[in-house]
Amino acid sequence: MIEKFVPLDTVGVPLDRVNVDTDAIIPARYLKTLKRTGLGVGLFYAWRYDAEGAERPDFPLNRPEFRGGRVLVAGENFGCGSSREHAVWALMDFGFRAVIAPSFSDIFHNNCLKNGLLPVTLPAAEVRSMIDALLAAPGGKVRVDLAAQEVTGPNGDVHRFTVDPFAKTCLLEGLDEIALTLKSSPEIDRYERERKKATPWLFLDLAG
């Protein structure tokens, strides 16, 4: 079940790094939970805190100007590595509702859409200028309007982005994808009956 996406007008938080992997977003030791909630405490743990557990003052999430920001702006290949959906849960638990980057890993991108975290892909030069602007004038606002498929940067520059139409509908309306798919149960039943004839060795567990 996903959270409905509402337009954002919020502080943009720059994370000027490429290949931000999901181990960095949420380290493995936080994956022992049985829940989806409460993971924000571990978000970017090794980057937010030093070995003694004290906040690193230079890390953007710790800087007062960026606190409370709900849009993260980062470098290419964001969310690479492990498939852990905990990375999305941690970002959302911390308060983020959108991530803007030049590219995302395929699995992370999917995981975002399943939870209502909007991944916005923009050309590398546009992301670069947005990160530069946010670093030059911390606290700058970023607006994200999914319905209009527009991001407005801190300098008032408007960027159009594309999004899969079905994913857009699911995000805006907070739809339950499994409930939608279950409407195709008759087709799934029919598929199994037909394929059982063609490749019976794959359906030995199904009677009849």
């Binding site: 079940m1 000027d16 790094r17 490429v18 290949n19 992997d21 181990d23 960095a24 380290p27 493995a28 030791r29 994956l31 022992k32 939970t33 049985l34 829940k35 989806r36 743990y45 090794a46 070995a51 470098g75 290419e76 290949n77 690479c80 590595g81 492990s82 498939s83 852990r84 959906e85 999305v88 590219s103 890993s105 395929d106 699995i107 999917n110 995981n111 399943k114 939870n115 899969d164 139409p165 079905f166 339950d176 994808e177 499994i178 798919t181 279950l182 195709s184 087709e187 799934i188 598929y191 199994e192 394929r195 063609a198 490749t199 019976p200 060795w201 794959l202 030995l204 567990d205 199904l206």
Partner: protein, 466 residues
């Protein structure tokens, strides 16, 4: 003219919605870390598992690898996750290779051993290294927990068709150069995001000559190049591996299955969106220097200089990686000392990997400054290795011989690096903190890791084994 991927996809279409395909998923593998929330989701919505017989579960990510684990697991959260997997699978009627089962092991290793992974199937798991199973000519891919739940409830997933890349590797591998070196070289060539949006089919003489174990190593790390899917066409090597395994087609259906599988390879005139070639005949053993799997170079090389990198973003990334790794540009890779050696993981913990490492370890001693672990990929791998006497070779050389699991690949169980420790590892990711907070990872093959263990530093296995 369809590719292997397209042929498998076309036989799994349940229905369509615009560009999206509702893809039937033949099999799902389940482990303890990415499944609890999926089962919880089903419970909250009052849904059931559609096809329990298509699932197989195993605890692997956070199981201890030390004796006594069946009786007692000290870490409360790990214990609870393993207990939760037990409850969830029992409740749904899903087969579980539990911690006391001789077949327990790393999820991507136990599936093939059981004969669960057959050419032409679609198979998913809540783990990014599921691409490993593409070595059998399957559409195998990692998914998040929401998709695990979707497959449990519907036996399907909505998918877009990825772009097509073929990586052709030709030429005979030189002595002590392995499939791990091939895939590290491929990732270095196309980059950590070069495969994003693609399904990669590996082809060529070098791949054809690889065993299933070697092919799985290659497909395993496809995700480190950004591609969710790595595929290799099924052939006689595949069929010989599968024949007689518990979940392989029974004798009455075997010939029909093989006849079907022989139709799967990409047609000669299949179209590709991108083609990459690699000459394996000149390939050297590879190691990584940085914090991305793309940071691989021949072991004879030196730590690269970020200042020679023209792209500012890449320059910044390299500087940061060197700072984290505490390395100075120009240092010879073979001058880098190591504290730990880890031989294991879904990349390199199959029997051939252990044989290759043991061949180097035999008659030698682990360096006094090094702690070295060997973690077999499964109980069956462990048993076979012990039948061959490999455990004695390792123990006599000073390696620790552990119980199966993911172990120090991701540092969820007690096997972790301490801050600042440097590890020669046969695993798949050298990310910051991957093997433990502050730990530093150099990826390499099992033979190279064994050479590092006995040398106390990164070493060229060809010189150690001489």
């Amino acid at each position: 003219m369809p590719t292997l991927f397209e042929k498998i996809r076309d036989r799994h279409v349940v229905t369509r919605r615009g560009d999206d395909i509702l893809l039937y998923i033949d099999r799902q593998l389940i482990h303890e870390v990415t499944s609890p929330q999926a089962f919880e989701g089903l419970r909250l919505a009052g849904r059931s598992v559609r096809r329990p017989g298509a699932m197989l579960a195993v605890p692997d990510h956070n199981v201890p690898t030390t004796p006594g684990r069946a009786e007692r697991i000290d870490d409360r959260e790990s214990r609870e996750q393993i207990e939760e997997l037990r409850k969830n699978t029992l409740g749904a009627g899903i087969d579980l290779f539990d911690i006391t089962d001789p077949r327990q092991g790393i999820v991507h290793i136990i599936g093939p051993e059981a004969g669960l992974v057959l050419p032409g199937i679609t198979i998913v798991c809540g783990d990014s290294h599921t691409g490993t199973l593409g070595a059998f000519g399957t559409i195998a891919f990692g998914v998040g927990t929401s998709e695990v739940e979707h497959v449990l409830a519907t036996q399907t997933l909505w998918q877009k068709t990825p772009r097509r890349m073929r990586v052709t590797v030709d030429g005979a591998l030189r002595s002590l150069v392995t499939p791990k070196d091939v895939i590290l070289a491929v990732i270095a060539k196309i980059g950590a995001s070069g495969g994003t949006g693609y399904a990669i089919e590996f082809a060529g003489e070098t791949i054809r000559k690889m065993s299933m174990e070697g092919r799985m190593t290659v497909c395993n790390m496809t995700i480190e190049a950004g591609a969710r899917f790595g595929l290799i066409a099924p052939d006689e090597t595949t069929f010989a591996y599968l024949k007689g395994r518990p979940l392989a087609p029974p004798p009455s259906l075997w010939d029909a299955a093989v006849a079907d599988w022989e139709t799967l390879p990409s047609d000669p005139d299949a179209a590709w969106d991108r083609e990459v070639t690699l000459d394996a005949s000149s390939l050297e053993p590879h190691v990584t220097w940085g914090t991305s799997p793309q940071d691989a170079l021949p072991v004879g090389g030196v730590v690269p200089d970020p200042e020679a990198q023209p792209d500012p973003s890449e320059r910044a990334r390299m500087r940061r990686a060197l700072e984290y790794m505490a390395l100075v540009p120009g240092t010879r890779m073979t001058d880098i000392p190591v504290d730990k050696v880890f031989i294991g993981s879904c990349t390199n913990a199959r029997i051939e990997d252990l044989r290759a490492a043991a061949a180097v370890a035999m008659g030698r001693k682990v360096h006094a400054n090094v702690t070295a672990l060997v973690v077999p990929g499964s109980g069956l791998v462990k048993r076979q290795a012990e039948e061959e006497g490999l455990d004695r070779v390792f123990v006599d050389a000073g390696f620790q011989w552990r119980l199966p699991g993911c172990s120090m690949c991701l540092g969820m169980n007690p096997d972790r690096l301490k801050p600042g420790e440097r590890c020669a590892s046969t695993s798949n990711r050298n990310f910051e903190g991957r093997q433990g907070p502050g730990g530093r990872t150099h990826l390499m093959s099992p033979a190279m890791a064994a050479a590092a263990a006995v040398s106390g530093r990164i070493a060229d296995v060809r010189e150690v084994a001489r």
